[in-house]
């Protein structure tokens, strides 16, 4: 069975194998032009009406989901994947509790931005604010950034001394802690959560014409813009002293330390940056949804986040973005399959792992690292 699949995969490789090389060989301005065209296409996506591509839309099928809403979720997940990629792909730290940061971001806009949240009620009572007052959405953004970065440091400070699997287990616990604390704290809205979370136009109301409940297109464009800015930022980090330090830590932490790399500091930065990106995506998600509840931030979502990075190609931003897009999009597009949807999804994941363990668009370096490890381990898969 796997032999046949491998044969299919090999012939595919003959067709698509050289794309990356050819792309990198292009002159710089042509690559910029290509990228700009791609970005323009992304902004155009909600109107997608090109004959032959229409079937990509999720509302192409009967009872399909609103296309722009799906695109928005995809963009949010892409942002999550880019953030998690900093931790897993660049710094090489397996984080299985990433949903924790997503939740912290979502809850910080909920707790401070919503007029219905216990925290805002407390502030109102304390400082004599009028009823209906809440922290403005624009102020919630830096607030969420700071809070998620702090939570990243709080998680990282004691745990980054651990390596490999031990770190993964602790982070898994962290994700659960956030959810359970939110579930059991009155000040965090407990089990019923918090509603009335504001968006760019303030608290949800029928008068919000741009960032309203019905039309998801502006939300998608907002999320897409954030994604592009973050791609640019992470790219800068990757090609700097910081990126090199992460790479050195991933390859040989002890040797890096002797060469003057402050491993703990850079790992903590990776955690904080990853957390901030997760927080921003959580904030966007909560703002669009208008309410948060603890149930939405379970460990399953964490595993999905890691799956996006692994399926897409850990360490490569284009790869993880594709992985996140597919994992968010495919289940929506194939709603027709209904009951077997999750099964098909699982099978697809297994197939990817069998044929392309390094991910769909792997980082060249990560792919080689994986290959080395596979060659070192004397496994016999017959």
């Amino acid at each position: 069975m796997t032999d046949i699949l491998r044969k299919v995969n090999d012939s595919r490789q003959r067709v698509t194998g050289g794309i990356g090389e050819r792309w990198r060989a292009l002159p710089r301005w042509q690559r910029w032009l290509g990228f700009a065209a791609f970005v323009a296409f992304l902004y155009y996506l909600p109107y997608l009406g090109i004959p032959g591509l229409v079937w990509l839309r999720t509302d192409y099928i009967s009872n399909g989901t609103n296309w722009a809403s799906v695109l928005f979720i995809c963009a949010v997940y892409v942002l999550v994947a880019i953030g998690l990629n900093v931790v897993v792909g660049l710094a090489g730290l397996l984080d299985l509790g990433y949903v924790g940061f997503f939740a912290v971001g979502a809850y910080s806009v909920a707790l401070f931005g919503s007029a219905n949240s216990p925290v805002v009620h407390m502030i109102q009572a304390q400082f004599g604010m009028p009823k209906g007052w809440a922290v403005a959405w624009a102020v919630c953004i830096p607030l969420a950034l700071v809070l998620t970065m702090i939570s990243g440091v709080i998680l990282g400070w004691p745990t980054l001394r651990l390596r490999g699997d031990y770190l993964a287990i602790v982070t898994l616990g962290f994700g659960e802690i956030i959810r359970i604390v939110a579930r059991n704290s009155e000040w965090a809205g407990a089990a019923q959560g918090i509603n009335g979370i504001p968006g760019p136009q303030g608290a949800p109301s029928p008068d919000n014409h741009i960032f309203g409940l019905l039309d998801a297109k502006p939300w998608y464009w907002l999320a897409l813009t954030v994604v592009l800015v973050m791609v640019f930022a992470v790219r800068r980090l990757e090609n700097s002293r910081v990126g090199r330090a992460w790479l050195a830590i991933r390859e040989d932490e002890d040797a890096a330390a002797v060469m003057g790399v402050h491993g703990f500091k850079f790992k903590l930065w990776a955690f904080a940056i990853g957390a901030a990106l997760g927080g921003i995506s959580g904030l966007l998600f909560a703002s669009r949804q208008g309410f948060v509840e603890p149930l939405g931030f379970n460990a399953q979502l964490s595993i999905l986040f890691v799956a996006m990075v692994v399926v897409g190609g850990s360490g490569n931003m284009a790869g993880v973005a594709l992985g996140a897009f597919l994992l968010a999009y495919l289940p929506e597009r194939f709603r027709d399959f209904n009951n077997v949807r999750v099964l098909v999804f699982g099978l697809a994941l297994v197939l990817v792992m069998l044929l392309r363990p390094q991910g769909l668009i792997p980082s060249r370096r990560r792919a080689r690292e994986l290959k080395d490890r596979a060659e070192e381990a004397p496994v016999n898969v017959a």
Binding site: D252, V258, G260, V261
Partner: protein
Amino acid sequence: MLPKQMSSPEGESPREVLLEVDQVTLRFGGVVALDDVSFTLRKGEILGLIGPNGAGKTTCFNAMTGVYRPSSGQVRFAGTQVSGRKPHQINRMGIGRTFQNIRLFPEMTALENVLVGTDARHKTSVVGALFRLYRVKAKPEELPVVDAANGAVRSWQQVRRAFARVLGISRHTLEERAGEHKALELLRFVGIADRANELARNLPYGYQRRLEIARALATEPQLLCLDEPAAGFNPAEKADLLQLIRRIRDNGYTVLLIEHDMRLVMGVTDRIVVLEFGKKIAEGTPAEVRENPKVIAAYLGVPADAA
């Protein structure tokens, strides 16, 4: 050329003590890996650390560079206590080292490996790399060059040059450029610049050994510790390495050398410390050590009539 280190003028003696290993003992459970070892290293000298296998030479390096913490005793570098500090701090103080079993970053190119070393002296961190706000006034030779034949590209380069003249250049950019320049120079110095852009893991063995030296030098150490740099070399390669070590010393570095090959050690070192079973058994000039009966016994076994 390799950056010259500050060194005291020739002939002024005794020269300043750079490294002091003071009664260092290191135990692993019941095993005593280092037993009350003391020696000093003066600025500008090449000290050989020799001994049979398992004598504790590499352990001594590890105790000096912060990989292990001595059970008792002290290591002082330029008068400052070393033991108890983290490896990266010790590197920052000025001790660079190579590894006996090569430990390069295999998936990075030779150049990138050395760049990690140069980064030890750089300051750009996350904020600096993200926003590039620390601007430094650029010297004329640091401004972007205008060299394109294409008119449009040329005007673009001129705009960039004008901006750089007014706003300066970010510390990130300057450090990246200076690092690359220095890294290439170091690769040239150790003689492997022809394969600068090849992955470290694909380099031939001799190149990897030299790359380790270049990477350690990139951190701008005052003291360079070489852990069996000639292991696995043939005589011709060993002769080359000997030259390289001399050139490193001539540039003002102090060198601590672990080596098995007696001829190499005798030929290049100023003084030698001999370890056996974790204890120092001899110390002196190569000629003195060569004549020392304890050393001869340790290396060749005890003659029957002495037993």
